[in-house]
């Protein structure tokens, strides 16, 4: 019997669903509360900070001037084009984005801390804020940071040898000028931390809602100026991260400093407004792309000028290179791109820092490549599916012009399966019928690759000063036969503990609920990189498999001695060590007990303790999304009628969990496509600071998904599983927006921006109707 491949109910769920989960705010009992006074302006010199008069016992307020010995957050990228910018824990001398923390108030309750924080008067000589890449790149623009006089923090450039020749040979060159508006990952639980000082040992424990506890400990120790061993970081239950909780934020530096300074326990639970203002943003990108095609519809060359607004600072540890360099490196996506010219800039502005958000640059680059295919098909008179057939990668390994190596995938097969499942001819008939009734249906296809589970080689290639990627796992079986797996990954809702338990169960022959996975505590787990970049199943899973294999070997050795057979004759299955073909069987708990309590019998080290390490090169999963929409041409409203996903993530350890990842990702992708937009006004005030203004889709806006699976086995993953954490978000926007464009084809409306809000869609229809006399008269 195998556990891999079964949709086992998640071991994590009973406690979470019954309200027994413990989130960071559940750890705040007995703490003093912290509130930050934040800059009301986007940019300016701090002339002075007036602190409130506080009665004895009424709390305390601190500013940058108090933070003696505290350094700045300055992540490193070893590239000549990278401009390192330091982020202070509290603003010193100047403010560079609205919401930047300037002072910190500590009081008995959260309300009292807020009372103090709002009485802090920050006297700022304002500067004209630089909010957009156009403003930042304008001739003579003020430098946001003196370290980067051109306002460019990172820039990638590449031109392949045959580029000019390929463009010259093209039958048609398609131009795209696409825009993704600024978005937020909107985790249900905002950021938060509780730092407590232990007077006995002098250590600080920080419980925080984060994705990378070990990395956070390193970063905090460096910035605060303390030994890592004096700091313990715990990620308890975390209510969503999506990348937003990967970075080292100034607020955590202040909390650790406060706990040491006041020798007490302090708690900060971020509110939604702060989360929108001052956590991290993403997706503020503009791509200008030209695709040169042959008459047969083959893409000969791609020419890309990519801009990413990375905000005021560079996120630690992955840096502000994350969006611009991924856009630059992975633009070709699932397509063969023989020649490439790319320029990609990370532009700094007086806005909230950019940090990774599920998908990182790929929602936008998939939107770009998929619009390119659609427009090229139209220009060449080809079917939109057919042109993709002619350009998708079909031989592996494939090396892209930017040097990315693709392992085995099923780009073409997944698309064919999705197209067949949808029944395109039947849709076209319905679409034609609907148009005669004044209803506008559209179908959109999106094919994409998702690079997952990559180890140190990929990060090292980016020149990161801190090179993440590997995972270590420590496994132990206790004398009762239960297994503890300590991992450096830090799952926060993905169901990884269940999936790893299934892996271990198959190796060791125990049931999954005898496997306890311990994560998210730097005192209890090996150093690792947390959970991000669709990596944990592949990398922590691989390391877990190695550790479990070693444990199985030891159990077999003990069993062989106990049953007096050759090791090779022993199998572990359903709680027993058995010798097939005989009636010999020993319960695994008996082996565990013997390993601990009768160790003298075996000539082996006592106990069952093993470890595993994995640092793979990475594996691509892939999928095709097809979306059907109806556009209300009078309001611009879009309703999603159908959403099909054909996903290839290799072997599915737990298919239900994979489907859950896809569903959540698609929901966020629908938000990116149609709803979500962070808006600054021209003075730099963020106008979208609540969930009444910033609009993630709800259950009512997300359709039921039809999910089909394919299985391509890659040698790049020892568990044969590929990552699947981001694909939903990567692929969905292009599918939705291509569907909207298809629905509006009779009007000739171009969809060049996400989100495509009702206002933008309706105004585009009206503008085209005014310009285009052939459009229906009723518009």
């Amino acid at each position: 019997m195998t556990w891999i491949g079964r949709s086992l109910p998640r071991l994590e769920d009973p406690s979470l669903l019954k309200g027994h989960g413990t989130y960071v705010a559940d750890h705040a009992d007995g703490a003093l509360h912290v509130a930050f006074a934040r800059s009301p302006l986007a940019a300016g010199e701090i002339l002075g900070i007036e602190l409130p008069e506080i009665a004895p016992g009424g709390g305390q307020v601190f500013t940058a001037a108090d933070l003696h010995g505290v350094g700045v957050i300055r992540p490193v990228l070893n590239r000549p084009d990278y401009r390192a910018v330091g982020q202070p824990a509290l603003a010193a001398g100047r403010v560079v984005f609205p919401g930047q923390a300037v002072a910190v108030a500590v009081a008995r309750t959260a309300a009292e801390a807020e009372d103090l924080a709002e009485q802090v008067f920050i006297d700022i000589e304002p500067q004209d804020p630089i909010l957009t890449f156009d403003a930042a790149l304008a001739e003579g623009a003020r430098a946001v940071h003196p370290e980067a006089p051109e306002n460019v923090l990172v820039e990638g450039n590449l031109k392949t040898k045959g580029f000019d020749e390929a463009v010259a040979q093209a039958a048609v060159v398609i131009e795209l000028d696409l825009r993704s508006r600024r978005q937020s990952a909107v985790p249900m639980e905002t950021r938060g931390g509780v730092a407590s000082y232990d007077r006995a040992t002098g250590r600080v424990t920080l419980v925080a809602s984060v994705q990378m506890p070990h990395m956070l400990r390193t970063g905090l120790a460096d910035v605060v100026g303390m030994a890592e061993s004096d700091l313990r970081v715990i990620a308890p239950d975390v209510g969503g991260g999506f990348g937003q909780k990967m970075s080292l934020f100034p607020e955590y530096v202040v909390l650790v400093w406060l706990a040491r300074k006041l020798r007490t326990k302090v708690a900060w639970i971020e509110d939604r407004r702060e989360n929108f203002l001052a956590s991290a943003h993403s997706r503020d990108q503009a791509f200008f792309v030209r695709g040169a095609f042959s008459a047969e519809g083959r893409l000969l060359a791609l020419d890309a000028n990519l801009k990413s607004n990375v905000g005021a600072f560079s996120c630690y540890p992955v840096t502000c290179g994350v969006e611009p360099l991924m856009a630059f490196g992975e633009l070709p996506g699932p397509y063969v791109v023989p020649e490439y010219r790319g320029r990609s800039r990370g532009v700094t502005t007086n806005t909230c820092m950019m940090a990774p958000y599920r998908g990182v640059a790929r929602p936008m680059l998939t939107f770009t490549m998929e619009r390119l295919m659609e427009k090229a098909a139209k220009a060449l008179g080809l079917d939109a599916v057919e042109i993709r057939r002619r350009n998708l990668i079909t031989s592996f390994p494939h090396r892209s012009p930017t040097g990315v190596v693709y392992d085995e995938g099923s780009y073409l097969q997944a698309m064919e399966a999705a197209v067949a499942h949808v029944d395109v001819p039947a849709f076209r008939a319905r679409q034609a019928r609907a148009r005669t009734e004044g209803r506008y249906l559209g179908l959109g296809v999106s094919v994409f690759s998702e690079r997952t589970g990559y180890g140190t080689p990929v990060y090292a290639q980016r020149g990161m000063g801190i090179v993440p990627g590997y995972e270590s796992v420590d496994l132990a079986m206790d004398p009762s036969g239960n297994v503890e797996v300590r991992i450096g990954s830090s799952p926060h809702g993905q169901g990884l503990k269940t999936a790893l338990a299934q892996l271990v169960a198959d190796e060791i022959g125990v049931v999954p609920d005898r496997v306890r996975v311990i994560a998210g505590d730097t005192d209890a787990t090996p150093y690792g990189w947390g959970t991000f970049a669709s990596r944990s199943m592949v990398i922590a899973g691989g390391a877990t498999k190695f550790a479990a294999e070693a444990a199985a070997d030891k159990l077999k050795a003990i069993a062989a001695k106990m049953m007096e057979v050759e090791v090779g004759a022993v199998v572990l299955d359903e709680g027993y060590a058995r010798v097939p073909g005989t009636n010999k069987a020993t319960p695994i708990p008996d082996l565990a007990r013997a390993a601990h309590h009768q160790s003298q019998r075996f000539g082996l080290e006592a106990g069952i303790r093993t470890s595993g390490f994995y640092d793979p090169g990475g594996t691509f999963s892939n999928a095709c999304h097809i979306c059907e929409v109806e556009v209300d041409i009078e309001t611009g409203g879009v309703k999603i009628l159908r959403f099909v996903v054909v996903e290839d993530a290799g072997v599915l350890i737990n298919p239900m969990i994979v489907d859950g990842q896809i569903a959540g990702g698609v929901a966020q992708g629908i938000g990116n496509a149609l709803y979500e937009e962070l808006i600054y006004d021209e003075d730099g005030n963020l106008l979208t600071t609540s969930l009444a203004d910033y609009l993630p889709p709800t259950a009512l806006e997300v359709p039921d998904l039809e999910i089909l699976h394919m299985e391509t086995i890659s040698p790049e993953s020892v568990t044969k599983a590929k990552g699947v954490g981001e694909g939903g978000t990567i692929g969905a926007p292009a599918a939705v927006l291509n569907a909207v464009a298809d629905a509006l084809a009779p009007f000739g409306v171009e969809i060049d921006e996400m989100p495509a809000t009702p206002q933008k869609i309706r105004l585009a229809i009206r503008n085209m109707a005014i310009r285009n006399t052939r459009a229906p008269a009723d518009v």
């Binding site: 309300a111 709002e118 309001t635 409203g637 106008l687 009444a692 009512l700 105004l763």
Partner: protein, 285 residues
């Protein structure tokens, strides 16, 4: 996101509540369902010194009457009370149709009819209903009860004729009996969001001709607006699409529409026409 400090009072009778708000004056705020006030306090946009919680005041909730005679609604009646039509007939059906557009299910369990009117959000569905149908609002104070027409009650965004010493206690909706058809159309970004534009109408049509008309729009200006001139235009016209388009155009020309991040003036004016046409078509169907 914690409110500034405030005092909290919980009267159990209307007389007690009126005495309290009279004494407190400007610095007080009445807490009914709290679905707008409490978030505003948490954002510290509202900072009442004293909250007077009327949820324990007896006799302020309940619905009586019927479609033909008109309906009387206690101010503390929760939105959810209209999830199923409280009576038969066009008026009750209209209220049941409208209520599903008010925010979300949990909010409708707590939010109150009178609270919505007193808060006077320009995109409030109940404000639109009362303004369009010509409701009478009963307002109590220590000096007695006065009646105010909905048309005179709404003064602008979050602004009404209510004095700090007054409580809205009851709302009377006039009859909408047999022979009336009603229509309501709202467009919002997501289900349950504030309307970017909405229209509510009631038409009495005989032999294809409109004999009586009520028409109002919400979410497009600083308050819900009853469109009296357009109503007058509709009366005597044939109930078909051309009439509705002409009515929509009249409204579009006469209203100075509001703007926000989800709908600029151009788009909102355009939507205004669409929601009017759709509401009228529904009423005539």
């Amino acid at each position: 996101m914690k409110p500034a400090a405030f005092a909290y009072l919980a009267p159990t009778t209307l007389a007690e509540a009126l005495e309290m708000i009279d004494r407190i004056g400007d610095d007080g705020k009445i807490l009914a369902g709290g679905q707008s006030l409490v978030p505003a306090m948490n954002f510290r946009l509202a900072r009442p010194g004293t909250l007077v919680d009327i949820n324990g005041v007896a006799g302020l909730s309940g619905i009586s009457g019927d479609s033909a005679r008109g309906i009387s609604i206690g101010a503390l009646t929760r939105h959810a009370a209209f999830h199923t039509p409280p009576f038969s007939g066009p008026l009750a059906d209209l209220l049941a149709k409208v209520v599903r557009n008010i925010a979300h299910y949990p909010i409708r369990q707590r939010g109150t009819f009178g609270g919505s009117l007193s808060h006077a959000d320009p995109a409030s569905e109940w404000c639109l209903v009362t303004a369009t149908l010509g409701a009478t609002l009963h307002i109590a104070s220590l000096t007695g009860t006065r009646e105010v027409a909905a048309a005179d009650f709404f003064r602008g965004t979050f602004t009404t004729a209510l004095q700090p010493s007054e409580i809205l206690v009851r709302i009377d909706l006039p009859p909408l009996g047999a022979g009336w058809g009603t229509g309501f159309y709202e467009f919002s970004r997501r289900k349950g969001d504030f309307a970017l534009a909405m229209a509510l109408t009631a038409l009495r049509i005989e032999g294809g001709t409109i004999r009586e008309a009520r028409l109002g729009v919400g979410g497009v200006a600083d308050r819900a607006l009853r469109l009296a001139k357009t109503e007058a235009f509709l009366v005597g016209q044939p109930a078909h699409a051309e009439t509705f388009a002409a009515a929509a155009a009249m409204a579009q020309d006469s209203i100075d529409v509001s703007e926000d991040i989800h709908a600029g003036a151009d788009y909102r004016r355009d939507l205004l026409g669409t929601v009017i046409r759709r509401a009228l078509a529904e009423a005539a169907a």
